[in-house]
Symmetry: C2
């Protein structure tokens, strides 16, 4: 059954062989777009083969890396949620400043780790299979990445001390070095490369290009580390470039395309730059990373509850007269808030899950919007902590409810934006079944619009009825899950009502009955104009 | 291309059709073993199909559930690692008792959540596809499970108060109720069932059997909840049955088989009970759950470090004279310990990954051993915390190093046991390529034996050289990763030495050279006997 390709001595089961029927090395080389299109997903796995030579499918290692990276991305929300506000203290300027700094640190860390994750995704689109050495190198890479949040928060805490910047840059350089090692190793043993690149005639060019991609961030950081000794602002500028350059250049390119019209770049250039800029992210890895973030955010809350909210036996005897029910009742609002928060995270995951069922591949814009949505999802424990603090500090309730509504709104509106962005290029991004609108489109739209609308309504309601803000917020959190359950029903109802209204406004001419005469009943209902 | 089966109006791409060439409903029904064998893995996914009707592949939902469950399983290690021991306090009896209780709570929680996870796995081997309602029901199920650790620790903190037991039982009952709802819903819309069960002629029998399986734990817990009002010990007994009954009955069955000889039970019984007792766990889900545990354990440490170990600017000015280097140096041992701990978790994951590359399916015994291995892996943050406490409390160093060695030893020896257990039934459990021994077997053996040996050597060394215990432990942690990298080389060297020694002991007769004459060179090396 195993057909071997005469061109590259590879089994003909590979995508490139199946789709084109020819080996790329034998016939004309595939365009880089095709190459990337084929290497977009997790590499195909054959369980038995290759095990003998120690070569393994990279699927499980990538899932594990995704899980690690998603946890690391969300870790800096902990200092935010654990910010101590003593009961006497007002929600005043100094606390607000501290919180704002920590939130900024969290968001930046999230972006930085996401950039590292995207680089990792790109790297393992090139490296298709792994062996023991690569698995160990990947573990080393992961360990270096776990230090990123720490060095970053060190940098922010001591913005004027070169050491913080220096350590952060060293961390990025170490990641780059390990990734360069991985690239070098994989190109030294070409059977580890993804089949499309292995079969390509431009092996060395790819190699140089990928190495350049992997090392451009570390090179900028090296410059930043050197500048940190003389003139710190330049360092910050260089580091900002590492994070934002890909997006800025993409945006500039897009604007130029719109203004000047699309100019086909020379073939040589295409090969070099499409790899970076137009490459779609692997849908599977976007899903795995998002799942990790949702899972850790949903459970960060129960981690806290399990540790802090089991009442102390001595405390129960002294404060509550031995009544466990009373002791648990005292932390009742915390459980209510946990329920609301888990439901929100869970349902946002559900909307994300529904969304990605329809998606075929994720463009870079969708990746960025998804990252922003996830970053705000990571802020949900903050919303939870704000809500559960009600029980202790009744004042400032209004502001806290509003912050929570705003976080939920932002998290859900960016998810909505992912869908909108996918609709701009339906042929590239959507599954064929959902490209042409219809009921599934309407349902998807309703699912994604539910949370933005609910949080917006809650926000407006708190403005009108300030005194009931907590009650409104909790009602919103409890009602939304039921709205999801009844969504299909509600949608059908809404469409029927809409059609009914439409029918009243522009009545259709009576359809001829089976006997050829006008249908009297519908004729009676819709008055002739 | 789409062939539709005339028997069950399902696409003929399904496993059952492909392997037998016939629809089970048309021909003789498959044996339950075959059914289970086929439904063992994640259901096959076709991306486009079914999207229109709202029916979805369950793959991503299951990964998300696995991620959530693995985090919930490991959560109770936090109270253990965060046990406050003030610097003046000796590692005395009261602390030891507190720690022992918390460790017991952690281990029991881990087992309970694993039982819930196994039930979830079994349930979604029956339910092959999902729709929106099922996804939402599954989220509800997950949320109920997140309360298990909390109610369990409440129960342990107040062993004599019925409320703790009552809440725990209510939690189990709620999980059972949601799962029963899922079963009912799936059997009401049979297109959601796994194809083997949908095509089976014994639909209602399966339905009753699965419902019975799902509800037996909750039924026992209901009894326990009622007994908690009269006589608490009976409640504990009933709850212990929920966790241990499947394993005990399996062990009893195995012993009976050995003693009496295997008696083929009547066909009616097989169908009812094999589902429960002999069913192999889905390999993919075992991997996903294990990955989740490894990922969360590896990062629990960095969560702590990121939150607690960023020095306070005021502190740096006052205590370290403004020198950030000195301040970071003070928490240096923590970083060293983190490095060691991450390396240990990462390499244990690596060994697990290598092990499961060779595994085709996991028996129940392997599942149990894997759970135990994971439970001790979850204990590694404890080992870390013990190690990082050295810097502050130099006394009791010896005991702490020994505890760490013991945890690492237990985690790795149970992993080794998984492999041994797989070797007992190689035809069922291993990939065909590795069933017959050889170099890959030796390498696997070496990989799995590395950590047990290293921790044992470190333990013995601390007994002999008590004064250098910390140095020994750190040396072990740093040396093991390099040993993994050089493992293939070392193994080849060891085999060569072994062969050399064997050659000296029983020299082989000289092989005839290409010319037919005895090969003089090898003849010179191996003296004639």
């Amino acid at each position: 059954m195993m057909l071997v390709c005469p061109g590259c001595a590879q089994p003909r089961l590979l995508q490139a062989h199946v789709t084109t029927g020819q080996c790329p090395t034998m016939s004309r080389p595939q365009t880089p777009e095709q190459v990337l299109d084929n290497s977009r997903d997790y590499p195909p796995c054959k369980t038995d083969e290759d095990v003998g030579e120690g070569i393994q499918c990279s699927h499980r290692m990538l899932s594990f890396s995704d899980a690690l990276l998603s946890i690391i991305a969300t870790v800096m929300i902990l200092p935010v949620t654990h910010t101590k506000i003593s009961p006497e203290q007002q929600f005043d300027k100094s606390i607000q400043k501290l919180l704002a700094t920590r939130i900024a640190v969290y968001l930046m860390t999230f972006l930085i780790v996401t950039v590292a994750w995207a680089a990792h995704t790109r790297l393992f689109q090139v490296v298709g299979k792994i062996d023991d050495t690569l698995a160990l190198l990947n573990l080393a890479c992961m360990m270096t990445i776990t230090f990123l949040p720490y060095t970053f928060s060190l940098m922010v805490t001591f913005p004027d001390v070169p050491l913080g910047i220096f350590l952060f840059c060293m961390c990025v350089i170490a990641i780059g070095a390990v990734q360069a090692l991985i690239v070098g190793y994989a190109f030294h043993f070409p059977h580890l490369l993804s089949p499309q690149i292995r079969c390509s005639a431009h092996g060395t060019r790819y190699w140089r290009h990928i190495l350049c991609l992997v090392l451009q961030g570390p090179a900028l950081c090296l410059a930043a580390a050197i500048f940190s000794l003389f003139f710190i602002p330049v360092s910050y500028l260089l580091m900002a470039m590492v994070v934002f350059l890909p997006y800025v250049s993409k945006a500039v390119g897009w604007c130029k395309d719109r203004l000047v019209g699309h100019v086909e770049p020379p073939a040589h250039q295409v090969e070099f730059f499409t790899f970076d800029l137009h490459e779609p992210l692997s849908k599977e890895r976007v899903e795995a990373f998002s799942d990790g973030v949702y899972a850790i955010v949903a459970t960060l809350l129960i981690l806290d509850i399990c540790e802090d909210n089991v009442p102390d036996p001595k405390d129960v005897t002294e404060r509550f007269g031995g009544s466990l029910v009373a002791a648990l009742g005292a932390s009742g609002p915390r459980f209510l808030a946990y329920f609301g928060s888990f439901a929100t995270v869970g349902l946002l995951w559900f909307a994300h899950h529904s969304l990605f069922l329809h998606v075929r591949k994720a463009t870079r814009a969708m990746g960025l919007l998804n990252t922003l949505a996830l970053a705000f999802v990571g802020g949900l424990p903050l919303a939870y902590q704000q809500t559960s603090a009600f029980a202790r500090q009744p004042h400032d309730e209004l502001e806290r409810v509003r912050v929570s509504c705003a976080i939920i709104f932002l998290a859900s509106i960016f998810q909505f934006a992912v869908w909108t962005s996918a609709l701009l290029q339906p042929v590239d991004t959507l599954q064929p079944a959902v490209r042409f609108g219809g009921a599934e489109h309407a349902l998807m739209f309703a699912k994604l619009a539910l949370y933005p609308c609910a949080s917006l309504v809650a926000f407006v309601a708190t403005c009108l009825l300030g005194g009931f803000s907590t009650a409104i917020f909790h009602a919103m959190q409890v009602a939304t899950p039921f709205a999801f359950l009844l969504l299909r029903l509600l949608l059908r109802l809404a469409l029927a009502v809409l059609r009914g209204l439409q029918g009243l406004a522009w009545p259709v001419p009576p359809a001829p009955g089976p006997t050829g005469e006008p249908d009297m009943q519908s004729g009676l209902l819709s008055a002739p104009c």
